[in-house]
């Protein structure tokens, strides 16, 4: 838009510059021409007067002398025809066609005293002539070869000055136009940035009202639209969280009643029926739990994006040591691992403490690792599950590899979607929320979740988190 505005304004300015400068140049050159004409005409008239009164050789010699002086002084040629004699001075040649034509015209009593308009690029000489005689006949003529070079140089200089001047004025106007365009467009750019930020964060952004009134009105509309959108999104999130929260009470009551029933029932058939109810109840509980955790993870994500400086949600003040948390989570899951026959192993040792510090909420990291370990134990039972830390200068990767069936290429792309579960695992209980929760939590901590194939078999899940540089010796053993 700015380029287009500038292009239009620029071409208009160029036309104006060309018009103005050509008019100015025209007037400069006609001024110069008139000046030269008046000047030379008076010289010509003097010679005419001298020549017309010349009689006898002495006079002609005087005339010749005067002509030579003139030619030397002004570097201009003179040709005077008087009494059928030609007196020549300076650089003029009588046999030149143009000169002959002038002399011929003068012989016919034609006055040729017009000097063509001087333009910076024309030839540098012009011829003027004036006949003289009495009323009956032409007695002679004076032809002057006017040297236009100094005048031309002056015109050229003036023209160049005019061109430079008009161009610079045009340029100044173009700059002004640019500033104007920027002033008009800046609110538009800001609006665009804000809307992009809005689509990324789903958080309304206060717009600074600047620029023309129409754009201010537009800013206001966009602000209120963003506000409405964010509010409705937030309400949606709150509804999900609130609903699952409210569901906990009835489910809790149901769970207790079912357990009581199990204690009291004795006959086989009823117990079998109760077992089915318990299974469904377990599924319900799991789903409810998953939805709540996802809702809170998404809440954390939006809080992080909105950059609130609330103390509760601000970035952790001190770094979290990933190694210790991995060890804790392995300990927590070890009973389950024994049950499924899996082995959990963690590479490295806790001495590498300064290298495992990450900027991540401790609780979030624990939850993520626990979620991923539960997944690995559930979907890759009886295999070796390896945990490792990989550090780069800016990030720390928490890598969890299993030897299970893994996921296909298309399936890998869908990982992280809510409620999505791989075809092959639909038989096992699960919600399809685990990786979605980890994904949201990782992003809430400025990290990311990467899920890829672990070679031929199994799954490799990476939580990539920003690395925290801990000052040496600040956190050492006592």
């Amino acid at each position: 838009m700015r380029i287009r505005v500038l292009a239009v304004l620029g071409s208009l300015l160029l036309v104006i510059v060309v018009l103005v400068s050509s008019v100015l140049m025209q007037s400069v050159s006609s001024d110069a021409t008139a000046d030269v004409q008046v000047n030379r005409l008076s010289s010509l008239n003097r010679f005419v007067q001298v020549a017309s009164h010349a009689s006898g050789n002495d006079d002609l010699e005087m005339l010749q002398l005067e002509m030579d002086t003139y030619s030397q002084l002004y570097n201009e040629g003179l040709l005077i025809v008087v009494d059928d004699r030609q007196l020549i001075s300076g650089d003029i040649r009588a046999d030149d066609a143009a000169v002959k034509e002038m002399v011929g015209a003068a012989a016919l009593n034609l006055d040729r005293t017009e000097i063509p308009e001087i333009s910076p690029l024309t030839e540098t000489v012009a011829l003027i002539s004036r006949p003289f005689g009495n009323s009956a006949q032409v007695l002679g003529s004076v032809t002057m070869q006017v040297n236009l070079e100094p005048a031309r140089a002056r015109v050229l200089q003036a023209s160049a000055f005019i061109i430079v001047l008009t161009l610079s004025i045009g340029f100044i106007f173009l700059l002004l136009a640019d500033r104007l365009a920027t002033w008009v467009l800046r609110p538009l750019h800001r609006l665009d940035d804000s809307v992009q930020l809005l689509t990324q964060t789903h958080q309304p952004i206060p717009l600074v009202e600047q620029g023309p009134p129409e754009l201010r009105a537009l800013s206001r509309s966009v602000s209120s639209m963003a506000q409405t959108m964010a509010t409705s999104l937030q309400q949606q999130q709150e509804l999900i969280a609130e609903t699952s929260h409210q569901l906990r009470n009835p489910v809790a009551a149901l769970r207790l009643r079912v357990d009581l029933l199990r204690m009291r029932l004795t006959d086989e058939a009823s117990l079998a029926g109760l077992h089915a109810v318990e299974n469904e109840l377990a599924r319900l509980e799991m789903l409810l739990d998953g939805v709540l955790r996802l809702a809170s993870a998404e809440h954390r994500l939006t809080e992080q994006k909105s950059d609130k400086t609330d103390t509760e949600v601000a970035q952790p003040q001190k770094p979290t040591h990933a190694y210790q948390i991995l060890a804790e989570e392995i300990e927590r899951q070890s009973a389950m691992a024994q049950k499924t026959g899996s082995t959990l192993s963690l590479e490295g040792d806790s001495k590498s403490a300064s290298e495992d510090a990450v900027w991540c909420h401790e609780f979030d990291l624990q939850q993520m690792v626990s979620e991923l370990l539960e997944n690995a134990l559930k979907y890759a039972p009886g295999t070796e599950i390896k945990l490792a830390l990989q550090t780069s200068p800016t990030t720390v990767d928490i890598v969890i590899c299993d030897q299970g069936p893994g996921l296909g290429k298309e399936e890998l792309e869908r990982v992280g979607e809510r409620f999505w579960r791989a075809e092959s695992v639909r038989g096992t209980p699960g919600t399809g929320l685990g990786l979605a929760i980890v994904d949201r939590l990782a992003r809430a901590n400025s990290g990311q979740l990467i899920v890829e194939s672990n070679g031929d078999t199994g799954l490799k899940v990476i939580i990539r988190l920003p690395r925290a540089q801990t000052p040496q010796g600040a956190d050492h053993e006592e």
């Binding site: 929260h245 009835p250 149901l254 769970r255 009581l260 300990e331 024994q338 939850q367 956190d475």
Partner: protein, 222 residues
């Protein structure tokens, strides 16, 4: 045993009363925090919900703790980090999240009661939790008949956890008891001792990390 159930949801309260009655406890019900504060005298254990109509459950807990040491188990739908941490730090003996299975609930009630009564136990030098027994005089710890070779710090740590078996000991409590400084900057040494202790116990899941709060020793039954 006399239980006070503080719960505003009638259905949950009914189920809880039926559940604890089924194993022989007696239960009374209060649906408001102010009622709970008036009626806690007879209770041997209080099951406390956090979402009460008149005041927050944590507030009830705080006021209750000023006048009474009665064991309190929080049973709430809230499972966010802050509520759990604050609940346990303000003196709750355990924090359970709804929904909860009956067996787990009863086991927790039992564990908390047992620990609460331990203060009056005759032999203060003998701690036992499941098949773990600790003799403080001889500084001996035996797990399932197997004596454990523990360092001094590991022994203190295990004793502390075993004394509170089944409920959480906060990190600050541990640091205070073992190092005499609850806000020790080098709290990572606790992790080191804990890792060593766990290796010697060789029973995965026996010492559970309660996120953001501290550690809990699950009494081993085998």
């Amino acid at each position: 045993m006399q239980l006070l159930i503080v719960e505003d949801d009638q259905a949950v309260a009914g189920a809880l009363i039926d559940a604890v009655s089924a194993v022989g406890h007696e239960a009374t019900h209060a649906s408001r925090g102010s009622d709970a504060l008036l009626r806690h005298h007879d209770a041997e254990l209080i099951l406390l919900d956090l979402g009460l109509p008149d005041m927050d459950g944590l507030e009830v807990l705080r006021k209750l703790r000023q006048v009474s040491d009665v064991p309190v188990v929080i049973l709430s739908a809230r499972d966010d980090e802050r509520s759990v941490v604050r609940g346990l730090r303000q003196g709750a003996d355990d924090y359970l999240v709804k929904p909860i299975g009956l067996t787990v609930l009863l086991a927790k009630i039992e564990a908390v009661t047992r620990r609460a009564n331990m203060g009056s136990a005759t032999d203060k030098n003998q701690i036992s939790a499941g098949c773990l027994s600790i003799n403080l005089d001889k500084r001996e710890a035996v797990l399932s008949g197997r004596p454990l070779a523990l360092t001094a710090k590991e022994f203190e740590l295990l004793s502390l956890l075993a004394r509170h078996a089944g409920s959480v000991v906060t990190r600050e409590q541990i640091l205070d008891q073992l190092w005499g400084d609850a806000f020790l900057a080098v709290s990572r040494s606790l992790d080191v001792h804990l890792t060593g202790l766990r290796a010697k116990l060789a029973s995965p899941g026996m010492i559970v990390n309660v996120r953001g709060v501290g550690y809990r020793l699950e009494a081993p039954s085998s």
